[in-house]
């Protein structure tokens, strides 16, 4: 019987949650790397036993861990993220020039077809790639060097490259997003990059609300069967693009707030998308103290609140950008983790929710592997 494995990164370690295809009874393993911040874990689509994890600490720096047995055992691998050439400067919070400095790995994106190839999105924002199972890392310098890098500026969470989306139909095309620089696309395997932010409007964040770069994109999601249709949760606004990011238009529609972090696409319905509205950038908790996932079956615009099984009073948690994932079972499973340490799961497309665990450390990321 098929099953699912959730890879949960938290502020104090990683947890692996497993269930069979019914997704009713869960086994909880962890904490792994107890006490360390686990920004992200993700398994290889080509070999689900291969899992990468970003382990970090303000005290002791960055570690990257690799498992070859589905998360049962781990070994530290390469952790040297050295910028290509002379790194130069970007803008600091106060507008002054600030040297590029590695701080941590936010996101690890394994290749779709090679377990030994994995991409890392780091802070200060840059894209790295390993082709030897994370033993060594090399920057893809065309991104920072495309022309605007010296004008990029951090958001409140740091200047992080947090989203890496690989196009399954074209191995040379990928999308990335940076807070607060915006979204970028390569069509030549990472050699050259282009900002793809036309249609983004950020009147509260930028002096020029329609600037080519500088937008605080929070996350981008794509359905693998429609690789040129992208959905974006920006700082404010939910947007979509139907031309590989060349242009975007807002689809926030009737959401109670269009601020948020997480966004994802149903595994079998490319026009069904999910977000978790958050009150505002000042508050970082759900409107009205009600934790609601919103689902649109029309690719945005029209949204339906999903509340069954979720707290509808006195709930003031946040759901971070990498803390939502979908499995590929039918019905589709949706999962998300909160800053309060809950991981919620739905085995029915989001119609109803159950807390899988309630009291983990604050959740930074949730990924899911659908196992044969």
């Amino acid at each position: 019987m098929s099953g699912v494995r959730l890879l949960v990164g938290t502020k104090k370690g990683a947890f692996v949650l497993t269930a069979d295809g019914r997704r009713a009874d869960w086994r909880v393993d962890g904490p792994l790397f107890g006490g360390w911040e686990i920004y992200h874990l993700k398994g290889s689509p080509a070999n689900p036993n291969r899992v990468y994890a970003s382990q970090t600490s303000s005290w002791f720096g960055q570690i990257v861990q690799r498992s070859d047995d589905g998360g049962a055992t781990w070994n530290p691998v390469g952790k040297d993220f050295v910028y290509d050439g002379v790194p130069g400067t970007h803008k600091w919070y106060d507008g002054t020039d600030h040297p590029w400095e590695f701080k941590r790995v936010w996101h690890l994106e394994p290749s779709l077809d090679d377990p030994d190839t994995v991409y890392a999105g780091i802070e200060d924002a840059a894209l790295f790639r390993s082709t030897d199972g994370a033993a060594s890392w090399h920057e893809m310098p065309g991104l920072r060097g495309h022309g605007s890098g010296n004008y990029w500026q951090p958001g409140a969470g740091g200047m992080c490259l947090h989203t890496i989306v690989l196009d399954p139909s074209d191995p040379l095309r990928m999308y990335i997003a940076i807070s607060a620089a915006g979204a970028f696309r390569t069509e030549d395997g990472g050699a050259t990059w282009k900002p793809i932010n036309r249609g983004l409007v950020s009147p509260y964040e930028l002096p020029d609300p329609k600037a080519e770069v500088g937008h605080c994109v929070h996350r981008i999601a794509m359905h693998p069967e429609r690789p040129t249709t992208l959905f974006m949760q920006k700082h404010w606004d939910v947007l979509r693009s139907d031309d590989a990011g060349e242009s975007w238009h807002e689809v926030s529609g009737n959401l109670p707030s269009d601020f948020g972090f997480a966004i994802d696409v149903h595994a079998h319905e490319p026009e069904t998308i999910y977000v978790v509205p958050i009150e505002s950038d000042s508050l970082h908790y759900p409107p009205e103290g009600k934790l609601r996932v919103y689902r649109s079956r029309t690719g945005g615009g029209e949204w339906q609140a999903l509340t069954e099984g979720l707290p509808q009073a006195n709930c003031y948690v946040n759901v971070l950008r990498d803390a939502m994932a979908v499995d590929t079972l039918d019905p589709c499973g949706i999962y998300f983790g909160t800053s309060g340490g809950q991981v919620y799961g739905s085995a029915d497309d989001g119609d109803s929710w159950t807390p899988i665990v309630r009291d983990l450390p604050g959740v930074l990321s949730v990924e899911v592997q659908t196992l044969p």
């Binding site: 006490g35 360390w36 005290w59 002791f60 720096g61 960055q62 570690i63 530290p76 952790k79 040297d80």
Partner: protein
């Protein structure tokens, strides 16, 4: 033998139980010799105590020995005699931070 006590998280990372004992070739040995020997024996710790690129002590790591804070001594300073003789351990400490 020179005795080194590592903080909890680095012992876990390097899978170390208890103190680390080092027999340093350099006589007299310096703080830098000690740190380099730790990194050679446990490569996973390279970059966790001092920056892998610059060699500077990480900002939230402290060195204590013999009741003194050695965090700000130069790496080419000799170790205290009691540490060099193994009578006192050299402590690598995660600095107090947060609330």
């Amino acid at each position: 033998m020179i005795r080194v006590v590592l903080p909890y998280h680095l012992r876990g990372l390097a899978r170390i139980d208890g103190e680390v004992e080092l027999d340093l070739a350099a006589k007299p040995a310096t703080v830098g010799d000690l740190l380099a020997a730790v990194e050679v024996r446990y490569p996973v710790l390279r970059g966790t105590i001092r920056d892998a690129a610059t060699g500077a002590r990480r900002p939230l790591v402290r060195f204590f020995a013999c009741g003194e804070d050695l965090s700000f001594v130069a790496f080419d300073e000799e170790l205290p005699a009691a540490v060099a003789a193994g009578r006192e351990p050299f402590l690598v400490v995660g600095a107090m931070a947060g609330g």
